[in-house]
Symmetry: C2
Subunit: 209 residues, 2 copies
């Protein structure tokens, strides 16, 4: 197998062509297709073409919010790091992650919960429209469900792609029933990289025209 000679600037384009080719026919809007392609680009896992679920108008409403400026809140510093600062800046948007804040650890300990769950309580205090991107902790989604039902927060979009084996499948099912706009990867798979890829796909739809 020989090395393909591709210019650095063309690697992503060539990757997307290969993904497009192997993905074949799926009936989806171009925006949803962009999201699925970017998730496959970041994972080389075509399972996501099958497992990514979008609530009605979720993508359109998220794009609208990003156009007007909003805050993306992640559950991990890895997801935070993966979201394009250049694209956020172009749109006057910002990203936040509270995971490493000392008061979050203290609050989680007091409440007998996870830091990720405490981060969702903290997210309620953020002014303006928010997108919540969860790539790691199902406990964040479960707490978010409670907070949305109690009308403490009304996210523009919940990206629910935690990965794992304990309550991950269940937490995603819970969010699908919560009544918030969502992009969910059903099943066990997901991750901080997947959460960041979905955010970037949305951002690039607006910034890379």
């Amino acid at each position: 197998m020989n090395i393909e000679h591709v210019l650095p600037s063309d690697i992503e384009k060539r990757s997307m062509e290969i993904i497009e080719e192997e993905l074949g026919e799926i009936e989806l809007s171009s925006e949803k297709r962009s999201i699925i392609k970017r998730v496959i680009h970041t994972s080389a896992d075509f399972d996501y073409a099958r497992t990514l679920r979008f609530s009605s108008s979720a993508v359109e409403r998220a794009l609208q919010a990003l156009r007007q400026g909003c805050t993306i809140i992640t559950d991990t510093n890895m997801a935070y790091t993966g979201i394009s600062q250049v694209a956020l800046k172009k749109l006057n948007c910002q990203k936040m992650c509270f995971m490493a804040d000392p008061d979050i650890a203290a609050q989680a300990k007091t409440a007998g919960t996870t830091r990720a769950s405490a981060c969702m309580d903290r997210a309620c205090k953020v002014k303006g429209p928010v997108i919540i991107a969860v790539g790691n902790a199902p406990t964040a989604l479960l707490r978010l469900d409670e907070l949305v039902r109690a009308e403490k927060i009304q996210p523009v979009l919940v990206i629910g792609v935690p990965v794992g084996f304990v309550n991950v499948v269940q937490a995603k099912e819970v969010i699908i029933k919560t009544g918030v706009p969502y992009i969910i990867a059903v099943g066990r798979k997901g991750g901080s990289n997947i959460a960041a890829a979905i955010c970037n796909a949305l951002l690039y739809t607006l910034t890379r025209k």
Copy 2:
């Protein structure tokens, strides 16, 4: 499907039990098994039990280097962020990533290569033993092969788990032939999260006894 009641502090333990159960019999040392389990923990993808390859004594030599203090160099800030700072500190080790340095962008432009490739040239200047962890850019592995052959760098271990569609499979095959100790995920799959998970599995083997 009901929510399992698991204490926050027990979620990882319970996850590892489920992975252990589903993984079944594989003939591996406990250290390699720990690495595979942590990679599955971070991806929910059992493919890695099949695709992770270890060169002879790679794990033992990496553990030895970490015990004596060494530097882990990553190709992305996401992988960098994912590596446990707490564990590194306990072992007097450190992590580095040059990706966002302005001079790296300039060097890559001049050389007509990628920033990840330029980062490997920069890695040659780091004093003391180094582990190179590549979760994203196959071009980093291809440059690393050249630098090792030219005796510019002699990594204790190369973690070669870039993800993608252009030269990813090939770059991993190249590193297997380079003659450096390696942990490689053959095929297209990998990622910054996988690179960080392998580093953390090594670190936790020493710090979580």
